[in-house]
Symmetry: C2
Subunit: 397 residues, 2 copies
């Protein structure tokens, strides 16, 4: 396949119907006449959007396809972390196989780019990184997978982990991950200094899980912003979860949002219903990039998740009390443009010259397409059809 297509009757972002010419895997033009011999797809008046972006998940440890996991885990964060390390061995969770399963599920739902945090610890070593790297290579033509080296079990508290993080980056991980500098690693300065030093050495972005609540999380956020400025890493740093931005002290929240915007630190939300969350509209209005992700999909942490970024847009909308059509479109934006900006995807969008990563959605308007979550009519990656009617055209190798 050359990545040439001619798509009739599509409505870009829900606007008036037109045709789309794709040449060499990129959008060539709208409204042209079809070239002879090129594959024609009837868009059937579907809405056309750029590929959905899954900007935060854990491909290496989903239990998809492994039979139902009966969850009897205790309530604390540390219970979940320790249970998972034990279950990885017991259940034989194969990172390559499992990441392939979830990646293909994502593609079936219209995601064309994925950022996956992948566990690095002193028990499994780099097997997670190696497995997801293999998946990213095997399926490179149907989805872009970016790998974050993620010290899930803590870093400074488990000697040997920093060296494994370095090795993960040498192997090809694209981003340095971090985790609750105070709550898990018990040393916010130490944790963040190591993370940012690795980022500087390897010239890679940073993406830190920050579950710490309220004033504790806000302190960690300040430390992250300070380092982003000091190392001129504006635009290269993401704070995932950022529950502290949902805290009660609105003056403090406002000052944090200003600092995030000024230092161009991005925010990733999974819009959990049971935790305080970053206020999406206020952040976007302040100029902060906000993206969304599924977080874990069917893993030992919890049974939910289906890797469908339209469903995630619904959850972002429900969590933020988005009811108006423009608000639902903003929820979708976190799952498209916001994710693309967070991941630094080049040539993303619907303009001529952009990569032909596209999804055709059923619906009269963008908001209807989001709330309906109908099976995606067609998903296109680099000008090739990779899924139809909710089914990926490729199976796990």
């Amino acid at each position: 396949m050359t990545g040439d297509l001619y798509i009739t009757r599509v409505r870009p972002m829900g606007e008036a119907a037109t045709s789309l010419t794709v040449r060499g895997g990129r959008i060539a033009a709208c409204g042209e006449v079809a070239s002879p011999g090129v594959e024609v797809i009837d868009g059937g008046d579907a809405i056309l959007i750029p590929g959905l972006v899954e900007a935060h998940t854990h491909l290496d440890k989903t239990l998809l396809g492994m039979g139902w996991y009966r969850n009897e885990v205790g309530p604390r964060l540390i219970d979940k972390i320790e249970n998972e390390r034990a279950e990885k061995k017991r259940l034989g969770i194969d990172p390559a196989r499992q990441s392939a399963r979830q990646a293909i599920l994502s593609v079936s739902h219209g995601s064309t780019a994925i950022r996956s945090h992948v566990d690095v610890d002193t028990e499994i070593g780099l097997s997670g990184i190696e497995g997801v790297l293999r998946t990213s290579e095997t399926y490179r033509d149907i989805v872009d997978i970016e790998i974050v080296a993620f010290p899930q079990s803590g870093m400074l508290i488990r000697p040997g982990t920093v060296e494994l993080m370095e090795e993960a980056l040498r192997l090809g991980a694209h981003v340095v991950g971090g985790l609750d500098p105070s709550a898990i690693d018990r040393d916010p300065k130490g944790h963040l200094d190591v993370i940012f030093r690795l980022a500087e050495r390897f010239g890679v972005p940073v993406d830190i899980h920050l579950h710490e609540p309220a004033e504790l999380g806000a302190f960690s956020m300040e430390l992250i912003i300070e380092r982003t400025r000091a190392l001129s890493m504006q635009g290269k740093v993401t704070i995932s979860h950022a529950f502290c931005l949902g805290m009660a002290d609105q003056d403090y929240v406002a000052s944090l949002i200003d600092s995030l915007a000024e230092a161009r630190v991005h925010i990733l939300t999974t819009a959990p219903a049971s935790r305080p969350v970053p206020p999406v509209k206020r952040l976007v209005e302040a100029g902060v990039v906000v993206a969304a992700g599924s977080d874990g999909v069917r893993d030992t942490w919890g049974p939910y998740g289906n890797a469908d970024m339209l469903e995630r847009a619904v959850l972002v909308g429900l969590r933020n009390n988005f009811r108006r059509d423009d608000e639902v479109a903003l929820a979708l934006d976190t799952c498209t443009m916001g994710g693309a900006r967070l991941m630094g995807l080049e040539d993303y969008g619907l303009a001529p010259g952009c990569k032909a990563d596209l999804v055709l959605l059923d619906g009269e308007t963008l908001a209807e397409a989001v709330v309906n979550r109908a099976p995606r009519r067609i998903v296109i990656k680099g000008g090739r059809v990779v899924a139809r009617n909710g089914q990926a055209l490729i199976e796990v190798a």
Copy 2:
């Protein structure tokens, strides 16, 4: 149809497979041999649960099937109420037709009983009540619909509304509704005295929308509990939404929960992600009946909702941070047993003698069936199959 069935290979509540004999619309026995000539359904090892219960919705004003409604409504509660009254006329929302559409959608998803609040106000008068009564009569063999006379636009602040509420109850509404005694009607004592007087006169239960936050809502809740006790209406009163039970003051919440349990006042949650919510597990552990509902489905208030009570169970689970299998089963329980107890449904359940209102679900366990939300395999009402594979067998008349 006589309501006789023989269902093979079903797993009641996910337990060991058995057969189920249905005679005259009721469950006769498990594990019997089939009688000659009776219709046999192969359960295919599906999970068997009693019919789902939609315990709080607004059948009269869904916009299902009416084209996409572009929501541009303002942020305040009163904006939504006033916008809706205007749009009812402009859009021509027909309560009979619309309630039928949603009721049939509910049936397709496995709901066999619905409590619907239905607007009563001085502009539309009783047309909502009449329309939903017509639907409840027309579709009585496929779903039980209970009607709450609901003063959506306020009661005391709009003279003439109390008389319409009385008339609604005379026409056949089954429950007296109420709404934010302080925030909307500006007179908590006055509002509740009228509501409870109507309940006493007509011998009907009470179900009050209480959106009032924190200490204000808690005060209204105390007034409701006082009247429940004084009129010996234990077990006949529901507080819907009850956001005040999600407030910060945990000692106050604990004392309210004790009082609710003692007065046998039920709680209905729609588990909204953007508001404080009643803590389901604590309430259930204290002995309070907790049920769940979709609230509005695709109306002028908001675009969400699909009348699927398995999806509602997922939202209850996500909102309450339910991760363990026993917790997900509890979320489902609010959509089955909890709803049945709230509505006072007789002979509900899977025991011999119970009405044969049944749903066959795909899944290895109850938790998997909930999170998958697969199309319902079979829905049975009074011993008759009313939906298969997610499709109702009846269309809007």
